[in-house]
């Protein structure tokens, strides 16, 4: 079906709300198209296009809730969705922690939509793939990559007067370039809301250069090293840590932000003073929707870490009420302050260290200390006297992002990123960090 505009979604949500006999009704409409092209071994392996629009209706009778979703939008289907949600709610047991969604609020629009991204077609996608494939063929390298673009919208409404409609677009590109003999591998990632900020040639060249430089890697003994972590290397580490910024977990004593003896560590200085992190739905580089669709609460610009201190914890509406705190929409992005230096300039200021392009397969080992394990991948280099001296074999690390953010030497220029395993949009700097803990070698290239 065609992409619904604000007038369309208002008409549909009003209709759905008028059909419900429940104490409370909320509606979410998500729709759009996603295109992609995937390539490997210097050839396109798949390309796809998926279009879908769905309607979610959630109702509550007292503290009993039910939800239904459909893909059809005629009047009969809308009524069917409401009746289904109401049937489910009547079957559900009461949830003592049920909280009503908020009353009407105005959402300040964020700039999440780009006409140029919306206009991407199969030819554009094929050309993105062609740049890296052709450049790799010329250099006797092997490219594998993935480009995906999305043009979508979301509308939310409830029976207490909330309504919001906004369009959003995004592109995401990753490319791995390997030498034909499999001894070298380089990688790049680029994300943007506006495709005019994306340069497929520039991105492919980064992966190509890393691949060429990474052959004949030498083994370095595992241990604690000064590291320069490119933004992509810390994206998922940070996302894991911010995933534990939940006030309830901290108050209940089951997170690293729990205070010994009870309570949480809001206001405590846990990181180096250079660490300043905030969420901002209207940030021009990483704009996100101005609401949290789970709670229908507006998002706000808010500090998460200020001068190394915990500046905010995230409260669900239930926990906020219980603790006398204020619930706001969960952040959709994370912005970390950095400096003005490029990664090359950070390298130039490093006497001895390790440059990490990317980290991989990160998992929580101990939530008590946010100890994470994972590996380096696709471009790990030894730095000596301000220059990359030679490539080195990959490492496994066991490190906590809390420790990492305490050991910061210098921060570089922030870059736009999406993580491998987080829905957060990120704007984070490269970091030079002392004593990063590599615990074993990996022979994988």
């Amino acid at each position: 079906m065609k992409k619904l505009n604000q007038e369309d979604t208002k008409r549909i949500t009003d209709k759905v709300l008028s059909l419900s006999k429940a104490d409370e009704c909320t509606v979410t409409i998500d729709g759009g198209r996603t295109g992609n092209i995937r390539y490997a071994r210097n050839a396109v392996s798949t390309a796809g296009l998926v279009e879908n629009t769905s309607l979610a209706v959630s109702v509550a009778f007292g503290k009993q809730q039910g939800t239904a979703m459909i893909n059809e939008f005629d009047d009969k289907s809308l009524e069917k969705a409401v009746r289904r949600a109401e049937d489910l709610a009547r079957l559900a047991p009461e949830n003592p922690e049920f909280m009503p969604t908020p009353s009407g609020a105005a959402f300040k629009a964020s700039a999440t939509f780009s006409d140029k991204t919306d206009a991407i077609d199969p030819e554009f996608r094929a050309q993105v793939a062609a740049y890296s494939i052709e450049a790799c063929r010329k250099n006797k390298l092997v490219a594998a990559g993935f480009f995906t673009d999305e043009s979508a919208f979301q509308a939310i409404a409830n029976s207490r007067g909330v309504f919001g409609h906004q369009q959003r677009t995004s592109v995401d590109f990753t490319c791995t370039v390997r030498t034909e003999d499999g001894r070298g591998s380089g990688w790049v990632r680029r994300d943007a809301s506006d495709v005019s900020k994306f340069d497929a040639r520039e991105a492919a060249d980064v992966a190509i250069e890393k691949a060429l430089r990474s052959v004949e890697a030498k083994a370095l003994e595992p241990g604690r090293y000064t590291v320069i972590l490119e933004p992509a290397a810390t994206a998922d580490l940070l996302a894991y840590m911010f995933g534990a910024f939940d006030a309830r977990s901290a108050d209940e004593g089951r997170s690293f932000l729990a205070r010994k003896g009870g309570g949480n560590r809001l206001g405590d200085k846990l990181f180096d003073e250079q660490v300043n992190v905030w969420a901002d739905p209207w940030h021009p580089d990483v704009p996100v929707l101005p609401w949290d669709s789970q709670t229908m609460l507006p998002r706000e610009k808010m500090d998460l870490i200020k001068g190394g201190k915990i500046a905010a914890l995230q409260y669900s509406p239930f926990w906020a009420k219980k603790q006398g705190a204020r619930a706001v929409g969960q952040p959709g992005n994370i912005v970390m302050a950095g400096g003005s230096k490029s990664t090359a300039e950070l390298i130039a200021n490093t006497k001895k260290g390790v440059l990490v392009t990317r980290t991989w397969y990160i998992r929580m080992v101990d939530p008590q200390s946010v100890l994470l394990t994972g590996l380096t991948r696709d471009g790990t280099f030894y730095i000596e006297n301000g220059k990359i001296k030679h490539p080195i074999k990959n490492f496994r690390f066991n490190e906590s992002p809390v420790t990492m953010l305490n050991n910061i030497d210098e921060l570089g220029r922030p870059e736009i990123l999406a993580g491998d395993e987080t829905p957060l949009q990120l704007l984070i700097p490269a970091m030079r960090v002392r004593d990063f803990n590599f615990t074993s070698l990996s022979d994988a290239v």
Partner: protein
């Protein structure tokens, strides 16, 4: 690799606005009524005819109706109950030697015919960058056939109230024995999949799966310490009879340290043990790092098998198709061609299969219409084969696909996914207690913990749920802060003993991720309790500011 979809599901489930994450919510009475077979056949024929007319040399159509229900609980509260449905059609074609794929949720003959024509256009565009044409191993059309997961109790007909009460009973049991907090969930899946192709197959399948994970957390507020113990259940490809555990389904772990389960699961009994064991973990002795002989229980070892053998022997990874995301593999073609690459010790035998009843990977046919089968991957320690799809079989000199092609949705393109890959039981009679008797300095590990492996499936680190010290042939006490590190080849060559088939049982992964866009898949891995000598164990305790 096991991706974080599970976390997304549980996070969504915890929200106050209950937005289902799988698809369209449906009323219970509609769950058990499948789409009419003639309707599906007519839709499929519309796509096949349109694709052929547009110039496709091959076309397959997947008409899917995916039903899920998940229930989440916390302590004595049911947080969420969601029924979901997602239906639609995916059309894949070959034209000019290249693939094209288009999916639509509009289930009319016109819409699927248009999808087929668009898929042909995409294939032609892709052919410009193709270095060699796709070659499909032949598949004989099977006509109109059907296959269903064998079950005796349909989860779709069990009252929601009964399921919620079972989870709450488990939570209460854990809270009564030492847990400070308890969360539990029940995932239930029904995939109604109809496949048709220009080879002449019309295959209707009805697949059922279940999983009920939980986490018991014990907190010591005075010290600020907390520890968790997850459930020891294994997800299963069966009906709701999975929860009717009888004494014959209960297995005594070595030394009687806990009860394990085979073929059915008693969640309340496991939760009761979990509450006690989570509390014990608060004061468990922190492990001394060093070399240990590890005795690994099947519901732990499955994940090590999954990561180090299952993914490593996927042919698409070996060839480089996953190089940009899930990675390649150390198990390269030259190692297989040598016919003497020692992947493991002589007693290590791995079999891939799509036929084991009760397994997550059991199906009648894959998403290319290839019948489920069973074959050797590692025989007497030597790498002898991979997992292949129709377009890969010729690369390893085979004339038939292994039946390893799957998609997680009607809207996803099918690609190579692993079947059940299982370690065969030992040939000598041996029980877990007898296995432990020979260990001087070791650790007995039960349950799945943290897991991480490099992009070529070589260097890995695994944790677990329960760790027991083994000293001079006896299990002594719980240990804490344990993780082991090894590389795949060293680890499997350090395999020195395994229990016999009486102890063989399956663990499984419900949300195994791979591909771009990322897809999930469910798969089981069987083993008996197995011993590995001289493995490096690290201490994971850390202090932060």
């Amino acid at each position: 690799m096991e991706r974080r979809t599970f976390l997304k599901v549980s996070a969504a489930a915890g929200g106050t606005l209950l937005v289902p994450v799988f698809g369209n919510a449906i009323a219970a009475e509609e769950l058990v009524n499948p789409m009419a077979i003639q309707f599906k056949k007519a839709l499929a024929d519309a796509a096949l005819n349109a694709a052929t007319k547009a110039g496709a040399s091959y076309c397959d159509v997947r008409i899917g109706r995916y039903l899920n229900q998940f229930i989440t609980t916390r302590d004595t509260n049911v947080e969420n109950i969601v029924n979901t449905e997602s239906s639609g059609v995916g059309v894949r074609v070959l034209a000019n030697g290249a693939y094209g794929f288009v999916a639509t949720n509009v289930m009319t003959a016109d819409a699927v015919a248009e999808a087929a024509r668009q898929a042909v256009a995409i294939a032609r565009a892709n052919a410009r960058l193709q270095s060699e044409p796709v070659r499909l191993a032949p598949v004989k059309g099977v006509g109109e056939v059907a296959w269903a997961t064998p079950f005796t109790k349909d989860w779709r007909t069990v009252p929601v109230k009964d399921k919620a009460e079972m989870l709450i009973a488990a939570n209460k049991a854990a809270l009564a024995t030492g847990a400070t907090f308890m969360t539990s969930m029940l995932f239930q899946v029904n995939q109604q999949k109809y496949f048709a192709s220009t080879d002449g197959s019309y295959i209707d399948q009805d697949i059922h799966r279940l999983w009920s994970p939980f986490t018991a957390t014990a907190v010591d507020k005075a010290s600020g310490k907390f520890r968790t113990r997850d459930g020891l259940s294994s997800p299963a490809g069966m009906g709701y009879e999975f929860f009717d555990a009888q004494p014959r389904h209960k297995v005594r772990a070595a030394g009687g340290v806990t009860t394990l389960y085979h073929g059915a699961y008693d969640i309340v009994e496991d939760a009761k043990a979990a509450g006690r064991q989570a509390r014990e973990k608060l004061t468990a002795k922190s492990v001394e790092p060093g070399k240990y002989d590890l005795v690994l229980s099947p519901e732990h070892l499955f994940l090590t098998i999954h990561e180090s053998v299952g993914h490593a022997t996927e042919l698409d990874r070996v060839l480089g198709y996953e190089a940009n995301y899930a990675g390649t593999s150390f198990a390269t073609l030259d190692k297989w061609q040598s016919k003497k690459f020692k992947y493991g010790s002589d007693i290590v035998n791995f079999v891939a299969d799509r036929t084991t009843p009760g397994s997550l990977g059991a199906v009648g046919y894959d998403d290319e219409g290839v019948p489920g089968k069973r074959w050797d991957i590692i025989k007497d320690g030597v790498l002898v084969n991979y997992q292949a799809t129709r377009d890969q079989a010729h690369i390893i000199g085979e004339h038939q696909s292994h039946g390893c092609s799957f998609a997680d949705s009607w809207s996803s393109v099918q690609f190579q996914r692993m079947p059940n890959v299982s370690l065969q039981a030992g040939r000598k009679k041996l029980t877990p207690d007898e296995l432990v008797k020979d260990v001087k300095k070791g650790i007995y590990i039960l349950g799945r913990g943290s897991y991480s492996i490099d992009q070529q499936r070589y260097n890995f680190q695994f944790g677990g749920q329960l760790f027991y010290e083994i000293k001079d042939g006896k299990i002594t006490q719980q240990l804490g802060d344990v993780a082991y590190q090894a590389n795949t080849q060293e680890f499997w060559n350090a395999c020195t003993a395994m229990c016999d088939e009486r102890d063989w049982r399956m663990g499984g992964s419900f949300f195994d991720g791979k591909g771009q866009p990322s897809q999930i898949s469910a798969v089981s891995h069987g083993s008996s309790t197995t011993r590995f000598n001289g493995i490096n164990v690290i201490n994971t305790a850390r202090k932060i500011a």
